[in-house]
């Protein structure tokens, strides 16, 4: 029997697809409303009558009706999708946003929530609602390449939507496809997509489309779509034209022509005028939620630095490596780029001897046989041999035993990970590894083990999709990355929406080494561990506008400093600079900062405050 539930009228002809005119009646129920009755069932019934069967089962006949009754959409207004998603508990602002998009905005909207408020959830709810109602069958989701898999997983797991990541050309024909925009706009995909009709188009990180001259922008303009969602946390970054372009992508002409928009709403590039009218116009196409000032945002982060005194042997290795690194740097005449492996060495020495050993061996292999370096490297290897125990690992073991709860332990190095796995195992502590190179299945398996009987997860990778560890609220930084974003990613695995406990963060910090300064920088100066989610982005963005990336600067300081106290002072200075960036208002603002503050204030005025509770 023809199931017309998902039939999508073809925009070109404006008639319902699937049923030819001979098989349906077309009459008017109302001057505006055409009525189609699919008649294919009549022929089938007649055919079976004349052939005397085959006939279907009475129970199944009744069950078919019961199924339709259960799935029938009783009202235009009520959200239908939640009853099909018993596991999902969206937050109130996410629900109201999805409802508003579907019921008031006709399914075309810019979702511009602040970072961390769940734009993906809102978009998922809208998609699911339309699918449940049979208004969307074919959906295309364009996102940055790095987010493709994350989207696929979220849609599958949270929303029960069979989304696929586009990998082969034939996969475009699946109903819900997630792809990167850079792939989609290239041949041969481009023509195929431009010749399709999409019931819903979703674009994540849509601020990348702020320039209407780019090929991406033009490509999206040309895609045929019924409903459309643009997701971005920053609908305006530098000037109001960006906002205009974004809206024109969604609904061409909504704010008039470019010149009208400029005349009606813009004083200079950044200052809006006739704000009230602009707000009104915006509210029909954009929803922005931001955290309320009074709400409890997340559970607390409790940070504890665990000072560790190295054993004399370990200290000897540290000093040996430090001396070696500096000597090489001086000899190279201050060339930073060739020093990468040396910097790594310096960082590894704070983690474990195993990590250092591996790098030293590789370095040894790379140097010429008669190089004067070789004996020096051997000397270091000899020093390693003197070390019998790992003070840090012992401290970590002690900590974990005390907690007696699930712990995630992060290290930067594979070798350290391997060592810790063995070390913990030899002390009857069940630990499982997790790293970026594992395939999806293995990652899932490790997660299941961790959820189950393993007390400890030892991870080398914090980024990437799929590790949501809200059930665990202890984390140990066995060593610290020098890039604060990576630290933030680590914390974000555990400290996120859905975490109900305060998160306890332990930083293992070897005294008298560079690690001590790094912990000090990240903790005391940047106050990294207590920042609101998303805030670090802004700080680093401001910082790196003028300066080299933070980890590079630290490396440079380390290599150049003549002694410990100089290093300490320089890192302190760096910390102070960043500390000031946290409060740009305190300084006399530059014109750029001023304009951003203006745009920020403008955005705040068009947004709704929401209380976000874990």
């Amino acid at each position: 029997m023809a199931d017309n539930m998902n039939s999508t009228p073809n925009p070109a002809t404006g008639t319902a697809s699937g049923s030819s005119s001979s098989a349906s009646s077309g009459t008017k129920l109302h001057p505006l409303v055409e009525f189609q009755f699919d008649r294919s069932w009549q022929d089938e019934l007649q055919a079976r009558l004349s052939k005397n069967g085959p006939w279907d089962d009475w129970t199944l006949y009744k069950l078919a009706v019961e199924a339709q009754e259960a799935e029938a959409i009783g009202s235009f207004d009520e959200m239908q999708c939640l009853r099909t998603l018993p596991e999902l508990e969206p937050m109130p602002h996410q629900l109201s946003t999805a409802g508003k998009v579907v019921h008031e905005m006709g399914g075309r909207a810019i979702l511009a929530d602040e970072v961390g408020l769940g734009k993906t959830i809102e978009a998922g709810l809208v998609l699911k609602e339309y699918m449940v109602r049979g208004l969307v069958r074919k959906a295309l989701i364009l996102v940055p390449a790095s987010l493709v898999l994350q989207w696929v997983r979220e849609l599958n797991q949270k929303f029960g939507i069979a989304a696929v990541a586009q990998k082969k050309a034939h996969m475009w024909h699946y109903d819900v496809v997630v792809a990167s925009i850079d792939t989609a706009k290239r041949d041969p995909h481009r023509d195929l997509l431009l010749n399709s009709d999409f019931d819903l188009l979703i674009i994540d990180e849509a601020h990348k489309l702020k320039n209407k001259k780019t090929t991406n922008y033009q490509f999206v303009t040309q895609l045929r779509k019924k409903y459309c969602l643009l997701l971005t946390a920053t609908p305006v970054q530098n000037n109001l034209d960006e906002l205009y372009n974004l809206i024109n992508l969604l609904k061409p002409g909504q704010l008039g022509g470019q010149s009208e928009f400029a005349a009606n709403f813009v004083v200079d590039k950044r200052m809006p005028k006739n704000e009230e009218q602009l707000h009104e116009a915006l509210s029909t196409v954009m929803i922005r939620n931001r955290r309320g000032d009074g709400g409890i945002h997340f559970t607390k982060r409790i940070v504890k630095n665990i000072p560790i005194a190295l054993s004399p042997e370990e200290m000897a290795l540290y000093n040996g490596v430090t001396g070696f690194v500096k000597e090489q740097y001086d000899r190279s005449g201050g060339d930073l780029t060739s020093m990468l492996s040396l910097v790594t060495l310096q960082r590894e020495v704070c983690s474990s001897r195993d990590a250092v050993f591996l790098t030293l061996v590789n370095l040894f292999k790379k140097t010429a046989e008669d190089s004067p370096l070789r004996p020096k490297i051997w000397e270091l290897v000899d020093t390693i041999k003197q070390i019998t125990s790992n003070t840090k690992a012992e401290k970590a073991l002690e900590l974990i035993r005390q907690m007696n709860e699930k712990v995630i332990l992060f290290t930067e190095y594979r070798a350290t990970q391997e060592y810790l796995l063995q070390f913990f195992r030899s002390h009857d502590l069940v630990a499982v590894p997790y790293r970026g190179g594992m395939n999806r299945g293995k990652k899932d398996w490790m997660m299941d083990l961790f959820r189950g009987r393993a007390q400890v997860l030892i991870a080398t990778e914090a980024g990437g999709e799929g590790i949501n560890l809200q059930f665990c609220h202890h984390m140990i930084n066995f060593d610290l990355p020098w890039n604060p974003m990576r630290v933030e990613q680590r914390i974000g695995r555990v400290h996120r929406l859905g975490q109900t406990e305060d998160v306890k963060i332990y930083n293992l910090c070897t005294m008298g080494t560079i690690e001590e300064y790094i912990v000090n920088l990240l903790h005391e100066k940047i106050n990294l561990f207590e920042l609101v989610i998303g805030e670090l982005d802004h700080i680093l963005e401001r910082f790196e506008e003028k300066e080299a990336p933070l980890e590079k600067q630290i490396a440079k300081m380390m290599l150049e400093a003549s002694g410990d106290s100089e290093l300490k002072n320089r890192i302190d200075e760096l910390g102070n600079t960043i500390g000031q960036l946290r409060n740009p208002k305190a300084k006399s603002p530059s014109s750029k900062q001023k304009s951003q503050a203006e745009i920020g204030a403008f955005l705040n005025r068009v947004s709704h405050e929401v209380e976000v509770r874990p």
């Binding site: 319902a16 009475w58 339709q68």
Partner: protein, 326 residues
């Protein structure tokens, strides 16, 4: 659909497709599928084409369907080691278990001498679990299966056996029964279900026909001592009667929603017209074509998005022979 309804639905489906329920509780079913259900539910076309071509004895899959996750997990936790709801374990399952244990011992003995022996035991012990709730993939699959295999019926009402005189012949009337889904759609959507029955003897048309049938017992075979009233109207005529009745009902509805949708549609078209007319008037000649095509495409999108329309389709239908003259 709440958990209880899902549970009942599943049970009816399993019974209708002759699946073997190994054990059950109000929170779950453990079931060995019948061949017909296996073909539809397990997505193993290669296996089934192998069976069909070689004539091999099919080995169907078993499933644990959990309809009340919380209750089932609570039971399982209370009762570690053994499966929940042993209480309702039926006899065949118990024998299967002891047989399984024996098998196990045999296999262990064999394994000692010959190494690992591949057996069915693994497959028997590992039954995939499936949580079935409204919105779950499995239930959607069952819905689709019911729709697919419950489309066209030809049935007779089962006579009430007690109060019948064996020498009497009861008159039966054939009815055309049809269930219809009506979709009211613009950028939003609502649905209504209708059920009509038309007497093929008199052309009399009734509503809520399915609800009326629901309480009756039906059989695919012609009962004894029954005579069927001759058809007074053709199927075509009956169908026309249904269509007319449906249209009459639909015309009587309020179409405020459609008027509002039309208003939105015209507003949007107005905005687009204003924008593109200006753009076209100031554009260079060589750009005009591209702008015009964008304009047309956008107009098409708006129409697609907002235009109010109503469509109807049959869910299923059949000929029902009911006692009495209708």
């Amino acid at each position: 659909m709440n958990q209880k309804q899902v549970h009942r639905y599943l049970q009816q489906y399993l019974e209708a497709t002759n699946c073997h329920v190994i054990e059950k509780s109000p929170a779950h079913f453990t079931v060995k599928l019948s061949p017909e259900a296996d073909r539809i539910l397990t997505n193993r076309p290669y296996y089934w084409s192998f069976v069909d071509r070689t004539g091999a004895e099919p080995e169907t899959m078993s499933f644990l369907f959990v309809t009340d996750k919380e209750k089932y997990d609570a039971q399982a936790n209370q009762d570690p080691g053994s499966e929940p709801s042993q209480t309702t374990t039926t006899a065949p399952a118990a024998t299967a278990q002891t047989a399984g244990q024996m098998n196990n011992q045999v296999n262990q003995a064999l394994a000692r001498s010959y190494g690992i022996v591949p057996t069915q035991v693994l497959a028997m012990n590992r039954i995939p679990r499936d949580d079935v709730h409204f919105g779950s993939k499995r239930l959607k699959q069952l819905f689709a299966a019911a729709q697919d295999q419950g489309s066209y019926v030809y049935l007779f009402q089962e006579p009430d056996s007690r109060s019948r005189n064996p020498f009497d012949s009861t008159p039966y009337t054939p009815w055309l029964g049809i269930n219809v889904k009506v979709e009211f759609q613009c950028d939003r959507k609502r649905e209504e279900l209708y059920s009509f029955g038309v007497s093929m003897a008199t052309g009399n048309c009734v509503e809520q026909f399915h609800q009326q049938l629901n309480s009756l017992k039906m059989t695919p075979r012609l009962p004894a001592n029954v005579h069927i009233a001759p058809a007074g109207i053709s199927l075509k005529k009956a169908v026309q009667t249904v269509e007319a009745a449906l249209e009459r009902k639909l015309k009587a509805q309020s179409y405020e929603w459609a008027e509002e949708a039309q208003k939105r549609l015209e507003e949007e078209q107005g905005i687009v017209r204003h924008y593109y007319d200006k753009l076209l008037s100031s554009a260079a000649e060589e750009q005009k074509e591209a702008i015009q095509s964008q304009y047309d495409s956008r107009k098409g999108e708006i129409d697609w998005q907002f235009r109010p329309r109503v469509t109807a389709s049959a869910i299923n239908c059949g000929i029902f022979h009911l006692a009495g003259i209708g």
